[in-house]
């Protein structure tokens, strides 16, 4: 066991730092939770940032070289993540593409699809989204109703997706559709790559509880998709989607990364705020900070264990769901401790200053607090993840699933 960088890793880290310093002027720098004023400007800046990083060899670090990656190790990938956070470079704009869509295209795409999409995805020349959820099928994803009907060389898609993160800026999406309603619900699905700029695709931003719009409704009206854009065989869509979901588990919290503001930022805020509290409040605040730090550290090191296991050849298994559960819980503790430390600023953002205590700081903690309920839902709700762990890791008996073997059009759709 060793947490220190190996000599190779240390050299790699030094190189990453040098590269980040060298390109600093071309990269966006934001504190977690901080936002630029103008959304369109921010999008362009984030695309440029990812392109600069990709050209410097810092995107897709662990992807195979034949797919435009660096053929590096997961440890190197983690090092890049740490150094980006340290340099206050925000999450890459194409995080859904990198975390979920790309690996799915790699696993199930044809060589022509690899050629067409992967290099552009890494450079954020194309931004990607994941079009799975629908108004009536979130947790019960296989109950989706968006149809794709074969018409010569094309498929014609009709239906609606919802809560689609980044659809408003995306160029492509992976789209799960129903192609055979006469089959049981898991058997009649097919996956496609869809051009988000194609005729018949309408994207409508949804406003989230925190006020921002990161996700959208997406409508498909007679959208034509070439058969060559299919991912996997017709009727094999569920198997393809499982690849996406497997990668999602690791991408969202499975590597021990903080899901909201980091425990380090909580420590900075606490150092600034604690001395001003009454002794009684200070005791309570220290308890909250201590508890949040323990949870965050436990999650961080569990993520390291998982990365170690995957880098030794293991697959990202259902255990990774535990990382998201624990990560969400830890992030809530961190965020709640942070918001409470703000005192009066916790209920409205006032003042100035960039030490986490002023206008930006207060707004940052509040935004983060309003983001976390979404984390406990996105990518599998806490309840669904508990079912997965209970059944697939602990081996507990499954819940009865009455609609599993019935044809979809004969009553699966409740």
């Amino acid at each position: 066991m060793d947490f220190d960088d190996t000599p190779d890793e240390a050299a790699y880290r030094a190189r990453v730092r040098d590269l980040l310093a060298e390109h600093a002027a071309d990269l966006v720098h934001l504190d977690a939770g901080e936002e630029a004023g103008d959304a369109a400007e921010q999008e362009q800046a984030l695309r440029r940032t990812q392109r600069v990083l990709a050209d410097a060899g810092l995107v897709g670090v662990a992807w195979a070289a034949e797919h435009g990656g660096q053929a590096g190790s997961l440890a190197q990938q983690a090092i890049v993540g740490q150094e980006l956070a340290r340099a206050r470079v925000p999450a890459l704009i194409n995080h859904i593409g990198l975390g979920m869509c790309g690996p799915t295209v790699v696993a199930h795409g044809t060589p022509a699809q690899h050629e067409r999409y992967l290099a552009r995805l890494l450079r954020a020349d194309d931004v990607w989204c994941q079009l799975f959820s629908e108004p009536a099928s979130g947790s019960d994803l296989a109950a989706l109703r968006t149809t794709a009907v074969r018409d010569g060389e094309d498929w014609v898609v009709n239906g609606q997706k919802v809560w689609t993160t980044l659809a408003h800026v995306a160029d492509f999406g992976i789209l799960l559709t129903r192609t055979d309603p006469g089959k049981p619900k898991h058997a009649g699905l097919t996956m496609f790559v869809v051009d988000m700029h194609a005729p018949g695709v309408t994207v409508r931003p949804l406003r989230q509880m925190g006020g921002q719009s990161d996700f959208n409704e997406v409508f498909f009206d007679d959208v034509r998709i070439l058969d060559s854009e299919r991912l996997g065989e017709p009727g094999e869509g569920w198997r393809v989607a499982l690849t996406t979901l497997l990668n999602e588990r690791v991408a969202v919290g499975g590597g021990g990364n903080d899901l909201g503001l980091s425990v380090e930022s909580l420590a900075r805020l606490a150092a600034a705020k604690l001395p001003g509290l009454t002794p009684e409040r200070r005791v309570l605040a220290r308890q909250a900070v201590g508890r949040a730090a323990v949870a965050a550290l436990g999650n961080r090191y569990t993520g390291y264990r998982r990365l170690t296991a995957i880098s030794q050849g293991g697959l990202p298994g259902p255990e990774a769901s535990a990382g998201k559960l624990a990560g969400t819980a830890a992030s809530r503790l961190v965020s709640d401790a942070g918001v409470r430390l703000l005192g009066d600023d916790a209920v409205f953002a006032v003042g100035t200053g960039d030490d986490g205590t002023g206008e930006d700081g207060a707004g940052r903690w509040q935004r983060n607090q309003a983001w976390l309920p979404g984390i406990a839902i996105a990518g599998g709700t806490d309840e669904v993840l508990r079912n997965i762990i209970g059944e697939r890791v602990l081996g507990l008996p499954p819940e009865p699933r009455e609609d599993k073997h019935r044809p979809f059009d004969a009553g699966s759709r409740a």
Partner: protein, 325 residues
């Protein structure tokens, strides 16, 4: 970075599991509640070398790392073995410059107990050699032990009055602090084993017990509480390994890691033990069932060497002082 046990440690854990399941058990822990001996007992632990894992080779120990001891302690915790390896690990640190006493620790010829002020001390029952910090000096001596009605007989708790203490190491505050941190790590490792076993026992029962025509483990109320307990155990495992590694390889991180592990262990074991009883229903509330033995450990261990609140405060203090930057 490589956060996994190596093959030697995996082998040591497997060997320890065999030893402890042969020598100790919840049944033995139950018997100890009614005046039976604590199993496997000090001499058996000394003979297999577990008391000396971290004692220097030159004085008859294994010269091993704290992580080597932690993986063994986890197995001890799983069967509620006693006396605790916490005492051995802590004494090994305190006696690092005392070859004769260290040799006596490793071969079991002396029964050590480490005393914190007036708190009930772990492994006081049957001890003949007591270590304490008095006025900043490490002292050694005999002692008288007052025992009460043990909540968990395997812990050998007693209130100790030192007799004839002599100074072993003057100005030993730093040494004492390190030894206490090491004790926190090993206690958390034993609790990891106990909590993991409590979850296993609960899961096994949830698969076989039926109610309303289904195995109870198929009900989410039951499934989800077992999952939450299991997730806690996996997080605790990470904190135990990190803190044990830090003791050997990154001493600056040890105070933070040890306090984090102990705080998390206290709450994780308690939840695992309470979940285990709840999942068993009325059976879980009987004397014959093992569930209360895990519960007893939980209720005692959470308070030993400082409770979760105390360690959350330690963590907060270190974090504020820049331990994470």
């Amino acid at each position: 970075m490589n956060f996994d046990l190596d093959q030697d440690q995996l082998d040591a854990a497997a060997g320890a599991r065999r030893f402890f399941t042969d020598q100790a058990s919840p049944a033995a822990a139950r018997a100890a509640l009614e005046e039976g001996p604590v199993q496997p007992g000090r001499q058996a632990l000394a003979d297999i070398g577990f008391l000396g894992i971290t004692v220097a080779e030159s004085t008859g120990g294994g010269g091993g790392a704290l992580l080597d001891l932690a993986v063994v302690a986890e197995q001890a915790g799983a069967v509620l073995a006693g006396p605790s390896l916490v005492t051995a690990a802590r004494a090994a640190v305190l006696l690092a410059e005392e070859p004769e006493l260290a040799a006596a620790l490793a071969d079991g010829s002396r029964a050590f107990c480490v005393v914190d002020g007036s708190s009930p001390a772990l492994d006081a029952v049957g001890a003949d050699t007591f270590l304490a910090l008095v006025d900043g000096d490490l002292v050694v001596g005999g002692g008288t032990v007052v025992t009460g009605q043990p909540m968990d007989a395997t812990r050998g708790l007693g209130v100790v009055t030192l007799t004839d203490p002599r100074v072993l190491v003057p100005d030993a505050a730093a040494l004492w602090a390190r030894a206490r941190d090491v004790a926190l790590v090993v206690l958390a490792a034993e609790d990891l084993g106990t909590a993991g076993r409590a979850v296993e026992v609960g899961v096994a029962y949830a698969k076989e017990r039926h109610a309303f025509g289904r195995a109870i483990g198929s009900y989410q109320a039951v499934k989800h509480s077992l999952v939450d307990a299991w997730v806690g155990v996996e997080q605790l495992r990470s904190l135990v390994w990190w803190s044990a590694w830090a003791a050997d390889r990154a001493p600056d991180e040890l105070p933070l890691a040890a306090a984090a592990a102990k705080a998390f262990a206290a709450e994780t074991l308690e939840r695992a033990a309470e979940t285990c009883i709840q999942v068993h229903g009325g059976t879980g509330f009987t004397w014959e069932h093992d569930a209360h033995l895990y519960w007893r450990r939980a209720k005692v261990d959470r308070l030993l060497l400082g409770d979760a609140a105390e360690h959350h405060d330690v963590v907060a203090g270190l974090v504020l002082a820049g331990a994470l930057s």
